[in-house]
């Protein structure tokens, strides 16, 4: 009887447990790791393609900056992000704001310059140094994606609410020079603009509480 009991107990246990043991957890894990590896390899391939597609380094660069140090054979300028040192060559040209040739001695610390450089044999040469007015190098245009909240009856002023910043409300002033286009560059008229329409506005710097519209692009 005891023998029968043991056989019964063993059979019952293995009958219930056996089907679950048949599923191999390592196989599922292996498949998932395989998928993950494949996805990662794909991403790495894409990134490598992006890197290898880049243009070869151009040895000629132009940096705007302020003179920090200047001596007979070196010039150090401070750009927006860093300080950079260049070697002055025997043929380095120095020019004032009117593009007239000046001497190296005419350059002083804290002057604003545009420095044209050439990288040769790992040395950065300053080949042309121009005195500049920083504001002449700026681009003060503003590009805004917004919804037309209001159009004046004359159609010369538009109130634009930024799509991604509801607190930003702009008065856009239109004039005869304002271009109105579709995103495919088809020319439109002011009368084609409607309230609640989404547009992209390229405007000049703020002038008397409104931005002069240079180009409006409908979406």
């Amino acid at each position: 009887m005891k023998k029968f009991f043991l056989i019964f107990l063993t059979t019952t246990y293995f009958c219930l447990a056996a089907p679950l043991q048949a599923q191999s957890p390592t196989q599922v894990l292996g498949e998932s790791i395989g998928d993950l590896r494949e996805n990662l390899q794909q991403k790495v391939r894409e990134k490598l393609a992006e890197i290898t597609d880049t243009t070869p380094l151009n040895p000629k660069k132009a940096y705007p900056g302020t003179i920090v140090e200047l001596n007979e054979d070196k010039i150090k300028i401070r750009t927006q992000t860093q300080e950079m040192e260049f070697t002055l060559a025997s043929d380095t040209a120095y020019l004032n704001q009117k593009q007239r040739t000046i001497k190296r001695e005419d350059l002083k610390k804290d002057q604003n310059v545009l420095l044209l450089s050439l990288n040769q044999d790992t040395i950065n040469y300053a080949k042309r140094i121009l005195l500049v007015e920083p504001k002449d190098l700026e681009n003060n245009k503003k590009t805004t994606l917004g919804t037309i909240a209001d159009i004046s009856t004359a159609g010369s002023v538009i109130t634009l609410v930024s799509v991604n910043n509801q607190n930003e409300k702009l008065q856009i002033k239109l004039d005869s020079k304002t271009e109105i286009r579709t995103k495919d560059n088809k020319v439109l008229k002011v009368s084609d603009l409607k309230k609640d329409q989404k547009i992209i506005c390229i405007s000049g710097p703020l002038d008397k509480q409104s931005y002069p519209a240079l180009r409006l692009i409908t979406l």
Binding site: S32, P64, E138
Partner: protein, 152 residues
């Protein structure tokens, strides 16, 4: 004797069910963890190809819009005024480029690539390039290119 046998069989059944249940629970738990970890690599393709069902007025701020210029490097000195600016961004984005004197608008293709012929002003140019994705995410890139014919 039959009573003892039945009681033993009952306990054996309970024991078997308990063990089976435990193994099943552990296996399910493991599966769910695996499926969570395999979701991660598929997030980027979704970001690059925003679903058409996305509500345009609710931009997805968690996934930044990428914008790269591949034809030129920042601060490049160029000897021709007319150049072709190429790069990549989110597919079908609208791009707006401004220089001090010029304005351009163009679109990225289905793969996110864009190409636009532009004319540089003489001297230093501050290029402002803004990309707007189909779901109205925005990103802006400022690039500095100098056009000069001077011998360097």
């Amino acid at each position: 004797m039959i009573k003892t046998l039945l009681v033993t069989a009952f306990f054996a059944l309970i024991l078997g069910l308990g063990l089976s249940g435990t193994v099943y629970y552990l296996k399910q738990n493991q599966k769910s963890r695996q499926s969570l970890s395999t979701v991660v690599p598929t997030l980027n393709p979704q970001a690059e190809n925003p679903s058409p069902t996305n509500t345009p007025d609710q931009p997805n701020s968690t996934l930044p819009l990428s914008l790269t210029i591949t034809s030129h490097q920042n601060y490049d000195l160029i000897s021709t005024a007319k150049i072709t600016l190429t790069g990549t961004t989110t597919p079908k984005s609208i791009l707006v480029l401004t220089t001090a004197s010029q304005n351009y608008n163009f679109s990225a293709d289905d793969t996110g690539k864009f190409s636009q012929a532009i004319t540089l002003d003489s001297g230093f140019n501050t290029l402002r390039l803004k990309a707007i994705s189909p779901d109205y995410q925005e990103t802006e890139l400022t690039y500095y290119l100098t056009f000069s014919t001077a011998k360097i």
